[in-house]
Amino acid sequence: MRELKILAVIVVFTLITYYLVEPFAHSQMHKHVEGEGFAYSDLPALTKTGDALKGKELVMGAAACTGCHAITKEGIVAGMDPAMAAQSYGVNPPDLSNAGVVYDAKFLAALIKNPAHALKVEHKFDAAKGKMHPMPQFYGAGGDIDQEIADIVAYLQSIAPKAEELTSEQAYKLACGGCHENRYAGWTQVGQTPKFKKKQDELKFNLAKADYQDALTKYMGKLPPDLSIYIRSRGEHYIKTFVEDPQAYLAGTAMPRVGVSTAGMEKVIEYLEDSGDAKRHERESIGPKVMLFTLVFALFAFLWKKELWSKLH
């Protein structure tokens, strides 16, 4: 009985210390942002139903998307290699093959209409001051602009894989990979690092990467961080809410709102877990076995002690 009381005292003091040093201290040190589950409630809702066929015509024609963006799924290749594109635009305009699923539809519509506004980077790109966002606004092709935008979005959704078929690599590449390296996954801003057969190929690849990163640094103000183990350094909640609205954490940051869909975000998290917490499945499967072992060990220890001490008292 006395021992249980002593144990209770120790447990209480330990838990108080733990609470103060961990949950409480962190709540005081870091801003907490709840997020709104990728609802993007500040952006107008889509009112029109789009027609994918008309959207395709616009993308290839009047809207001139393919002037900068590749759509490899439709056989449209990029006009420039990534490094040269970054030197021209700041970042490489992303391939739109998976845009319809990785990005939220409402966000895509708002982006086409006014990129700087949808991306929440108007503090950086102010048309009135002559600072244009590298992606031009779509002013319409002569008809109802909202209908035309709905058509474009419908087209992008029609060529994108279904949410359940989207891979984590596709999601990361489109949502993050243009700016953020992930060296533990072998990803660089100019693509997946291949296995080099010749030293020359490796040097060329690294040169392109260095060129890209220089252009990107100039464009963003600093080189965006490598995300290899962000899942350990920042955690899932922070990453999700930061991606949803970077300005909520870091007002004035050059990082744009990414506009990912819920499905896109899930896949991005999976990618980050694979690069930064690769052995989590092993950990989760071994944990219960070790716990069971400790319980059995404790049982035997208890029986041994009981037997010896029965001779003492």
Binding site: I229, G276, R283, A301, K305, E307
Partner: protein, 404 residues
């Protein structure tokens, strides 16, 4: 030349050469432990087991870790965490054990303080124990440098800066310790050496000393009763195990030790698998960057109370207070002037002193992590002043204690 006979068996063969029978009697089967103790007396064994975990996991981690500022971070976070089979497990065991070993040490220390186990012939147990605490602190700090993350780098910067000793401006000393103007390659190499060789050697020697200091005075008991160990041992050996007030270390007490160890292991492995973030600060998963200071720099939880002693004052006074906090615990056997070596609950004013000290150190620990702003800096300052006052009044309140 000693006389050797043909051995009757393996045991006898060793006994003739190593006196193993005597050794096992002295160290185990006739090492008498009072029966009137509780599970807190098993913390020493819990510490031994935790140290073994640290040593074993450390040896494996050392085979893959690269002490180079360019590769250290990735050797930990990529090679050990991803490529080495079960590397993640060894790292989590090492990290959690390094943190939890301090929890057990604090419990062990406060047990000693509560039961007066540093008095009447047990002074050296306390002093060698405090030296172990210092050695473990240095070991923990040097290990914290090795992943070469943001907290490694900046904690290394802050702690080595302390050696400039404020207005003495001993910048040359700081550079000498770092081997550079800032923490860099020379710094990492020497802390690696300290962590894997010199300090573990010191710790092992101190553990041996700590055990040795315990052997003659024997461990204390729950009531502070003075036992006639020879008399009680006679009873035990004559077969009156139930009537004797003592028991053998092995296997009587060892069986209880192992029971407590087994319960500790349930907690320990729960933390290793399900709640390890407290021991592995997220900030340290960002690579060291000398151009980017983290928003909050704080040490691991077990150093927070002494960090807080440093913080509320101007540099020079803070350093004096910090130095005071580091050595004052060692002085405990000489500051406690009471003639009684009994538990705190029988000692009147000392009992209050004990609980106030414990509560104050928890408050200091909390304030050491919180940003030193507004109410937190006021609470911090008051707690530091209280901490110092407690140690100043200790000789007076214990002097007034009557001999029981």
């Amino acid at each position: 030349m000693a006389h050797f006979t043909k051995a009757t068996g393996l045991q006898d063969w060793f006994n003739q050469r190593l006196a193993t029978d005597i050794v096992s009697r002295v160290m185990a089967t006739e090492y008498w432990i009072p029966k009137n103790i509780n599970f807190l007396w098993a913390m020493g064994m819990v510490l031994v087991i935790t140290f073994v975990f640290l040593l074993a996991s450390g040896i494996i981690l050392m085979m893959y870790y690269q002490p180079n500022v360019e590769t250290a971070f990735d050797s930990v976070n990529y090679i050990i965490m991803k490529e080495v089979e079960f590397g993640w497990l060894w790292r989590h065991v090492h990290g959690v054990a390094a943190s939890i070993v301090f929890l057990i040490m604090y419990i062990h220390m406060f047990t000693g303080i509560y039961y007066g186990s540093y008095k009447k012939g047990r002074e050296l147990i306390w002093i060698s124990g405090m030296l172990l605490f210092v050695a473990f602190s240095a070991e923990a700090f040097s290990g914290y440098m090795l992943p070469w993350g943001q907290m490694s780098y900046w904690a290394g910067m802050v702690i080595t800066n302390i050696f400039s000793l404020g207005d003495l401006h001993l910048n040359g000393l700081v550079e000498w310790i770092r081997g550079d103007y800032v923490p860099a390659q020379a710094f990492l190499n020497r802390f690696y050496m300290l962590h894997v060789l010199l300090l573990p050697l010191v710790i092992i020697v101190l553990i041996a000393l700590h055990f040795a200091t315990l052997r003659i005075p024997h461990v204390n008991n729950q009531e502070g009763e003075e036992l006639d160990f020879e008399e009680e041992a006679k009873k035990y050996k004559s077969g009156d195990k139930k009537g004797s007030k003592v028991m053998a270390f092995a296997n009587d007490f060892l069986s209880k030790d192992m029971l407590v160890v087994s319960i500790f292991m349930i907690l320990f492995f729960y933390l290793v698998f399900y709640n390890y973030d407290f021991a592995m600060d997220p900030v340290n998963f960002d690579p060291a960057d000398g151009l980017k200071t983290p928003a909050h720099i704080y040490p691991e939880w077990y150093f927070l109370w002494s960090y807080e002693v440093l913080r509320p004052f101007s540099t020079n006074i803070g350093l004096i207070a910090f130095g005071f906090a580091q050595v004052i615990f060692v002085m405990l056997p000489f500051l406690d002037r009471s003639p009684n070596a009994i538990p705190a609950h029988k000692r009147g004013a000392f009992q209050i002193w004990f609980w106030v000290l414990l509560a104050d150190m928890i408050v200091l620990t909390a304030m050491g992590k919180l940003p030193p702003e507004g109410i937190y800096s006021t609470i911090g300052l008051v707690s530091v002043l209280l901490f110092i006052a407690l140690w100043i009044v200790l000789p007076f309140i214990t002097k007034m204690e009557k001999k029981l």
